[in-house]
C-alpha cells in the first residue's frame, strides 16, 4: 500500500491551487469525484480526466499525479480484465477501469495540496466538536515524532541484542513487543505533558475560540468553484439525459 499512500501525502507547494481556500479544494475534489461516477461513456470520462489533469497542472503536481495514474493504472488493468471476462463489453470495461484511476486522482488532488493545518480549518467548517478536531490535529502532528521515537527505540533494542528480522511471521511479530512497549509508555508520558501544556495555554476556557487564519474568497477561489460546478452540471446532464453509446 506504500505506493498508494505516496499519492496522498501533502507536500508544501506555492501554486495558485495550493493557496486556495481549503474548502474550495474539498468542494472541487468532491465534485470531480462525483462527476467521474456520473459520466456514462468513455469519451465523457476522458473529458473529466482532462479536467483533472488541468487541475494538476495548475497545482504544479503533474509529475506526482502522473505517477499516481500509472500506479493505479496497473491495478485497473485487473479491473478491466475481470469486467471484460464477465461482460464482454469493451466500452464499459474500459470505463470502469479508467473510472478507478479518475476516482483516486480526484481524491488525491485534495490531499496532496491541502496541509494538515488547512484540513483542520475544513473540519472546523463542519462544526465538529473542538476536542475531536484537536485530537485529529495532534494525532497528525505527532506522526513524525512517533516515527523518530520508533527508530530510536528499535536502534536501542537492537544494540542490546534484539533481532527484529529473524524467524517466521509470528516470531517477527513477537519480536516487536520490546519496541512497542517503550513506544506506548513514551506516548502515555507525552500525552500527560501535552495535557499540562494545553492547560497552561488556556485550552478550552472559552466556548468559542477565535482563529488566526481567515479565508477571503479570492478570484481563484471563485474561478475554481465555478469550473467545478460546471463540470458537475455537465456530468449530471449526461447522467440524466444522454444515453450511453452502445457498441455493437
Amino acid at each position: 500500500m506504500m505506493w498508494l499512500s505516496g499519492g496522498f501525502i501533502f507536500r508544501r507547494g506555492n501554486s495558485v491551487y495550493h493557496r486556495l481556500d481549503p474548502r474550495v479544494k474539498l468542494l472541487n475534489s468532491v465534485l470531480m469525484f462525483a462527476s467521474t461516477l456520473m459520466v456514462r461513456s468513455v469519451y465523457e470520462l476522458l473529458g473529466v480526466i482532462v479536467f483533472l489533469v488541468a487541475v494538476a497542472a495548475v497545482a504544479t503536481v503533474l509529475r506526482r499525479v502522473a505517477r499516481t495514474m500509472l500506479l493505479t493504472g496497473t491495478f485497473s488493468v485487473f479491473i478491466f480484465l475481470i469486467n471484460f471476462l464477465f461482460t464482454r463489453n469493451l466500452e464499459s470495461s474500459v470505463l470502469y477501469a479508467a473510472r478507478f484511476v479518475a476516482i483516486v486522482v480526484s481524491t488525491s488532488l485534495f490531499f496532496i495540496t491541502t496541509s494538515p493545518d488547512e484540513l483542520e480549518q475544513v473540519m472546523k467548517t463542519f462544526r465538529l466538536p473542538r476536542d475531536v478536531v484537536f485530537a485529529f490535529v495532534t494525532a497528525v502532528r505527532f506522526i513524525p515524532v512517533m516515527m523518530l521515537d520508533t527508530i530510536q527505540i528499535m536502534d536501542a533494542q537492537k544494540s542490546r541484542g534484539l533481532e527484529l528480522d529473524k524467524g517466521n511471521v509470528f516470531r517477527r511479530v513477537r519480536n516487536m513487543v520490546p519496541v512497542l512497549i517503550p513506544l506506548v509508555v513514551n506516548s502515555v508520558v507525552r500525552s500527560g505533558e501535552l495535557a499540562e501544556a494545553m492547560e497552561s495555554r488556556a485550552y478550552g476556557v472559552v466556548p468559542r475560540p477565535t482563529s488566526l487564519v481567515q479565508y477571503r474568497a479570492s478570484a481563484a477561489d471563485k474561478a475554481v468553484t465555478v469550473a467545478a460546478i460546471l463540470l458537475f452540471a455537465l456530468a449530471a446532464y449526461s447522467f440524466y439525459y444522454v444515453l450511453p453509446v452502445q457498441f455493437p
Binding site: 493545518d117 490535529v137 505533558e193 501544556a197 492547560e199 497552561s200 488556556a202 472559552v206 475560540p209 477565535t210
Partner: protein, 281 residues
C-alpha cells in the same frame, strides 16, 4: 516595587503520595527579577512551579495548604483563563508543547483559546516572533525545526500571551552549549525590554549566574538556601544539596583558600599584582 509572586507557607501532597512534595514554602519575588531555583531531582521544584501557574490545584488535586499569590491574586481563586495570561510556563521538552502544524498557528494557540480578536492576535504573534528572532520560521512545520528553534517557538507561544511572570523548567537541558548560552542572553534581553519576571529551574548554573538576581535552593520540599547567587554559591552548603557549582566559583574558592582572593570577591588584576609583589618581597 511590588511582588509579582508571593508564596505563603505552601504545602502540597499528591493524592496517595507518602510525603509532602512541597512543605511550608515561603518566597516573595519582586517584579522584574530573574530567580533561579535549584536542587536535586525530586526535591519538589516541578510541584512548586505547577502551584505557581495553577496546574495545582486546578488540574492536579491533592492536599493543599498555604497560598500562592500572582500579582496580588490568589492562584486558588483564579481560573486558568486569567492564570494563562499572567503566568507563562515553558516546559522542559519543547516538542510536547507545540501543537499546531505551523509555527505562527502554534504561537497563536493560547490567544485563540482565550478568544483574542484576530487583528490583535496577528499583532501579538508577529511581535512574539520578532522578539525571538524567528519571523522567518513563521510558516514552518514543527518537524522542520531544530531543538533550539523549537524552544524559541514554544517560548514565543508563551510570550504571545504577554505574561508578567514566566517560568522556565530546565530550559537548556536539551540544548547544546552555544544555543543554551543564546537562550540565557534572550532571557536577559526580555527582562530588560519587557520587564518580565523569570523563575528558572536549572542545573547548569554556569550560564545563569551572570543574569540571575537570586538563587533559591530546594531540598525535600523545603527552601534550604536563598540569596544572591554569589553569596549562596560561595557560602557553605550549596554543594551538599547537589547544586552544581560553576567552575568560576570553584576557582574563587580555591584562590581564597590560597589567600589569592577575598572570600567575597575575586581580586582585580591590580590587587593580584600588588599581592604577588608583596609575596616576592
Amino acid at each position: 516595587m511590588s511582588d509579582i509572586l508571593e508564596i505563603r507557607g505552601l504545602s502540597f501532597r499528591y493524592p496517595e503520595a507518602p510525603r509532602m512534595a512541597v512543605s511550608g514554602f515561603d518566597l516573595a519575588i519582586p517584579e522584574g527579577e530573574i530567580v533561579v531555583l535549584a536542587g536535586p531531582s525530586g526535591c519538589g521544584k516541578s510541584t512548586l512551579l505547577r502551584a505557581v501557574n495553577g496546574l495545582i490545584p486546578h488540574m492536579y488535586g491533592g492536599e493543599y495548604s498555604g497560598d500562592v499569590l500572582v500579582a496580588g491574586a490568589s492562584v486558588k481563586g483564579s481560573d486558568m483563563r486569567e492564570l494563562a495570561q499572567k503566568v507563562g510556563f515553558l516546559f522542559q521538552n519543547p516538542e510536547n508543547q507545540i501543537f499546531m502544524f505551523s509555527v505562527e498557528r502554534d504561537v497563536a494557540f493560547g490567544l485563540e483559546n482565550i478568544g483574542t480578536p484576530r487583528e490583535e492576535m496577528r499583532e501579538r504573534v508577529d511581535d512574539a516572533l520578532r522578539l525571538l528572532g524567528i519571523g522567518d520560521l513563521a510558516l514552518r512545520a514543527p518537524h522542520e525545526l531544530s531543538d533550539g528553534q523549537k524552544q524559541r517557538v514554544a517560548l514565543a507561544g508563551v510570550l504571545a500571551m504577554r505574561p508578567r511572570l514566566v517560568i522556565l523548567d530546565e530550559p537548556t537541558s536539551l540544548l547544546d552549549p552555544k544555543t543554551a548560552g543564546e537562550l540565557v542572553d534572550l532571557v536577559a534581553k526580555l527582562r530588560r525590554e519587557l520587564g518580565t519576571t523569570f523563575v528558572i529551574v536549572e542545573h547548569r548554573l554556569d550560564l545563569l549566574v551572570r543574569v540571575a538576581d537570586r538563587l533559591v535552593v530546594m531540598s525535600e520540599g523545603r527552601k534550604v538556601m536563598e540569596g544572591a547567587p554569589k553569596d549562596v554559591l560561595l557560602g557553605e552548603g550549596s554543594e551538599k544539596y547537589g547544586v552544581a557549582t560553576p567552575a568560576v566559583t570553584r576557582l574563587q574558592k580555591m584562590l581564597a583558600r590560597d589567600g589569592l582572593a577575598t572570600a567575597d570577591g575575586l581580586m582585580r588584576p591590580a590587587d593580584l599584582a600588588a599581592l604577588s609583589e608583596k609575596r616576592a618581597r
